[in-house]
Assembly symmetry: C7
């Protein structure tokens, strides 16, 4: 019967004195835990600062991103130490953490599942920033959305599409990233000519026009190359030309090339590729048709 022992003790003087000492010793322990937590935190901050700096010197991590990451690491450290300290203090005071937490099981399950998206967002966000997958101002495609990056956070990335829509995308939704601003982009033009046209003549026209364009258009990095006949479609022969353009100029280059080839073909008398039909007029064999 623990309460009887306790009761018996309470009524004697020594017990009262011992109780006072016990309360005191508990408070001292709480104090010690708090001091230790602060000391550990202090050294933790120093350490995270040391670990994240050298890489900055090598130009591997930009100033701003190092700040973001160190902030994240520091606050994870802080919450971790605070949490361990709090549990230790509660334990010391006899609140019965385990029993409370067992009681919180059902709710905890729901919260744990509900919060996993949040954690996933931050983890993915950390890697996007750490691995420099994209930076503000680049043209990217993530989670089925294409546009210019406006803002990168640990939880969400904001992307502005060409149509003006602002997309707010939780980082956890981002699985694979397509970055259109790292290296040259390809411009590709497909032109159809009728089946009756002379393919060699058409290719010659394209080659010559391409030579002129390579000089005139500065955004072309690698001159337009005439690939040849890539398809025999229903309506004619499809010819393809590709070129390498500076990033974000590929569409302009494509429009420029398209117009030039079109006009060159018109000048050379190569027919516009309207759909053709061969029509066979006949009298039906059945009496009433």
């Amino acid at each position: 019967m623990p309460w009887q022992d306790k009761l018996g003790k309470v009524l004697t003087f020594e017990a009262l004195f011992a109780l006072g000492l016990g309360v005191l010793s508990k408070l001292l322990m709480v104090l010690m835990v708090i001091i230790m937590a602060r000391v550990i935190l202090h050294f933790g901050y120093l350490f995270s600062g040391r670990v994240l700096k050298p890489r900055e010197d090598k130009g591997y991590l930009a100033e701003g991103r190092v700040e973001t990451l160190r902030g994240l690491v520091d606050s994870i450290l802080r919450y971790l130490v605070y949490f361990v300290a709090a549990v230790t203090i509660l334990d010391t005071l006899g609140v019965g953490v385990t029993s409370v937490l067992a009681g919180a099981g059902i709710v905890g399950l729901a919260v744990g599942f509900g919060a996993q998206n949040l954690v996933k967002d931050v983890i993915t966000g950390f890697f996007i920033i750490f691995e420099n997958q994209y930076t503000v101002g680049e043209y990217i495609s993530i989670a089925g959305v294409s546009g210019i990056v406006q803002e990168i956070g640990l939880r969400v990335t904001k992307v502005k599409a060409f149509a003006g829509d602002l997309y707010i995308i939780p980082n956890g939704n981002i699985s694979q990233v397509t970055n259109y601003s790292r290296g040259n982009m390809r411009a590709l033009i497909d032109i159809t000519i009728a089946h009756e046209e002379d393919i060699d003549k058409a290719l010659a026209v394209l080659e010559e026009t391409s030579r002129h364009l390579a000089d005139q258009v500065p955004e072309i990095v690698e001159g337009p190359n005439v690939l040849g006949a890539v398809d025999l479609s229903e309506y004619g022969v499809v010819l393809r030309v590709i070129a390498q353009a500076q990033p974000m100029h590929q569409w302009g280059v494509e429009r420029r090339l398209r117009k030039a080839y079109k006009e060159a073909f018109a000048a050379a008398g190569i027919e516009a590729p309207y759909p053709r039909r061969v029509v066979l007029l006949k009298e039906s064999k059945t009496p009433n048709s």
Copy 2:
């Protein structure tokens, strides 16, 4: 044999006295727990008030949203403290929380899984309000639904589509948000001309018309730019013009531009782009066709 000890004690006077004292001490402990809970709650409210106010001063969080968030934080705090207090009291009274909860395991599993959507709704709702992803009156697209935001709650968002339908969307369903009311929107017009038309002439007509429109239409923020030939389709050359319009006026601007270009082309004698067919009439080689 605990019940025998208990029994033996019950029959002596001291034991009865001790029992009385024990019941009293338990009641005192319950009272103390209740008082402590109220004190902790009081300070918790003060703290949440202090944390959420300064940001309001910086204009970062609007009055209404701060109220919503503080209400949420306060009630989470309240339920948390009540819950810990209740478990501690039950423990003191010897009800055996763990054993009850172990018994509740199966049901708890079902409830925990069933309730995770609710938790997810509130967590997502919290971030939507806190990060100001959209506000009432903005035109947004969430969870496959587009419309004007009517109401933002912690659990659901109500959106009124243009067709008049009222969508009630649990916040947990919202993963990425598209906001059409933050910055200018693009108006885009594609016009097809026949392959035989002179591209340069058509572009000149578009350029001139665009210059007039930039002055006449006040909703255009950035004058209509003629991009050029964006496609060589089956039926002709596709020309594109884009402009930047004020948010929510992009459709009106598009209609206006479309009509103007159409009429300018008609005036310039550039043919309407009906589908064309080249028909080759022939006699079939097979005897009966």
Copy 3:
């Protein structure tokens, strides 16, 4: 060796007497648990009645729905109290709840997962009724099904589609609700005219007809507005008119407007928009085609 101690005690008189007292004390405890459970239940009912009534006074919750919700809250309370009481009694009688439940683990896992849908149904059902997302007689769209609500329950919603099918939908399947009976609905008519037609003339005809219709059709809440040319399609120019109609009358209004515009165009000599083809007859250049 507990059974030896037990055995030794059983053979003495005091032990027998003690055993009798022990059984008695256990039965008393069971009785006490039962009485306490009933008392707690009684106060719980009173409380749920007090919490759910005031809101009814404010017209926020209709009579019927308050009944449904209170029934739900009361039965959850009842099962909870009964369950805690039963476990406490079993514990007192020494049945070993934890050990039984550990044994039930595998089955429990299966049942817990299998039953989570049931829990999800009731939770979602609770919020549908509590938040008044839809009521009997409204035209809604849920879980890919559109129709008139016939019955709302805590587990299922019954919807009658226009084609007469009765849909029985578990509430857990409902994630987002579209309600077509809260506010005006839009009527939208698209009419195509040939590219050769005069757009201004066509718009004038539409405007005039709309003015007449605004007066004649009482279901139109906001007069038909002629928006202009919304598309340049392959076959002509697409003109759009929209109007706001009373809920559930939008289809009737659309039919009425459609017929009126069609007849007005016919009267004004604006051509019916059959698909057009420009046919270029030619002799093929290749010898045998």
Copy 4:
């Protein structure tokens, strides 16, 4: 060293006697557990019989379905009581249920997950029968399959499609049920007329034909209503007529109406809606086309 104590005791006479008594007492306990289980089962059966009967009197639950449900409830009860009794006996005999079950953890996880479908089937099956969602002979659509219900079980439902296929569908696969046999079904006929036709004349023909049909076709519950022009398609004006038919007769009614309207239009000289093309013959401007 427990085995040393045990060993020392085994070698003395008293210990042997005590051991015999211990074994006896254990066997008595096992017997008592068995007797109690049978008694509890007996009362459980009585109770389930009482609970499920009254509803039958109200005509709410048909005889057969009450049998099925009571069988289910009784066997769940039986397995539950047997299971608790078995675990208690094993515990008494000292087999160490928890340790065995901990050992069975991995397999148990796999079995638990694997078996959850089975549990889900039975739970869903219970509600289908209890809520009378469909009965044998009704025409329903579940889990993407439409047909006549042949058999409803707790685990599977058998549906015979019109094409003769027998579908065997686990009840857990059924989330929403569409029942086509509860109330009248709609018959809907869409007829296209050419854009040049007089809409009013066509509507008059439809109205008159409908009046005749309402009398002649007994399966029509609510006379065919001519709605008007529901679409302006590429090829003409689409007119719609709807009617309410007895369940399962809607297709027959549709065929009957369709033929009648078609013949009425032919008699009234309203043209058959073949696709129309406006063909503009022209000479191409480019030299070689």
Copy 5:
């Protein structure tokens, strides 16, 4: 300090003797566990044999399937008993099952999740065989695959498609089964006639042809019924005939009926349903088109 006690004991003679006795007693216990396991297994086999036989007598379960099921039940029983015996023995020998299993937790989680498909396969396989959902030689459709069943096992079903492919399908992949060999199958023929044709005449031709076919084709179980006009398509009126055929002969019956109707229509001078176009030749209003 348990090792000190142990050490002190080891050095005395009595302790050594006691140790020997302890080892002996442990071995005896292991032996007893093994004997008990065999006895339990023996009775388990007898029982499973008794339970599964009576049903066979009623012709409900075929010989082969009873064998398969009994084999499954027996091996589950065997592994279960062996497992419980092994854990009990290890426990007796003091290996510390719980501690090992705790250590195996991570791997166990992975294995448990990985193996759940295997368990699901066997559970589904059990029900397919027990409920006789299909047997070897029947034409079925499962998991998106149609063909003749070649082999049914507890883990996989092998299906041979008409194209000759052998599908090996884990039973866990099978959720709903379509069996085409249980009852008559429907043959359905849709024939389109031109809008100008006389529907009544066409129906009369179909009726008469059907009467002849009902006599000539023995695979037709229920004579071909002419349903009427099921659709008014772009190109004509669609007429439908359906018949009931013996299972697996429906395709042959369809081919036979199709040819007969086609020839009857040709004989009756009803036109072949080539797509029709109404062509309106016109001069374009715009100057250059």
Copy 6:
């Protein structure tokens, strides 16, 4: 205060001696565990060798596959025994496995979930090899990929498609297997004839050609059977011929048959099935069309 006891003991001579003996006894236990593990492993290898050999004799399992499976079984056994031994040793040395593992819980959860794919791969791989679902060189279709099996491993299967791509497919991705190399494959040819053609004549031509082909083409296992009219399409009557060919020769047979039928039809004067249109030229009724 365990450390005080320990401390007091440390300072006496006997305690030091006892400590030395304790360390020694622990090392002996570790040694014993290691020896036992090796002995158990040895017998385990013998056993797995015995179990897997007999089946090889029956020709059921090929040499190579038995090697693969035995390697798998042996390494699972090895890791299992090593693991149990390691945990037992750590336990003996007092490292506190449970406490370490509790600490590893979070990471363990992540690893356990992350590794389940690996386990699933190996389990599926085991069954593919054990059940001989496909072997190197067969033409199969798994996980949406078709090609010749190049290599079967426990974790991945490598498949070489006809286009030359090498697919590396984790076995866990494979749910159902289609094997095209077990038994004859079907060759199927559909030929369309115009609606005006005589079906009987066309069928006679097909029959006769088929008879010749059955003799000439050795890869045909079961002579081409003319099925008849399988569809009445927009453009004509579709006739079908099927044949059984040796596996992997079905495409060659199809090409051969196709060419033969095509030429036979040409010789018999049966018209090539170009799409047909019935064109109705007319004057439009509206004034300006």
Copy 7:
């Protein structure tokens, strides 16, 4: 009352001395744990070095990949040993790891689920490198993306598509790999000829042209084989030619072959395959059409 005992001891001299010794002994234990961890790590590194080297000698694992894998194995080892050491130290110092971790349960659940993607990435990355599924510079298709591998890491793979986009793909997203650079690739050309053409003549032209091409094009590994008629389409007979080309040259070879066949057909007078229509002009039977 543990604190009273502690208190009593604190006030005596011996207790103080004992306390000092206790602290000392704890520090010694911590030191010992650290030393042991370092020793274990040292041997672990040696071992991982020995295990991974021999394979390198056999040319099975390239230098760079062995480095990557050894780095991974070493850091896993390091974190594992550090982790076990840290928990043991905390345990020694009495921090109560279990209680802290129980407290971390909810957060841990969320983190564990959130981090499983990370673990999956690394596991998949390990196997990609270890099994040499692809290397930098190869043309592959993974996770719906095709391109040249730029970089393989343990967490992500970077792929550069032909269009210039840089794809950053977490390895966990990669389930099946298609490698286009291991062995020859197929070039496939389909050419359609009109139904009236002589198939044999067309095949002869293809055969002859193929013989010339086999000599002229060095990238062709296995001469172009004329397969024959692979389809009878609406517009003609489809002939197919396939060839084996060196990897990455298949597209160039296809273009080359396509042009050659096209020109050979033109030279041989085989008609270009424009879509054909048989047009049946007729007078409609209905009065007004």
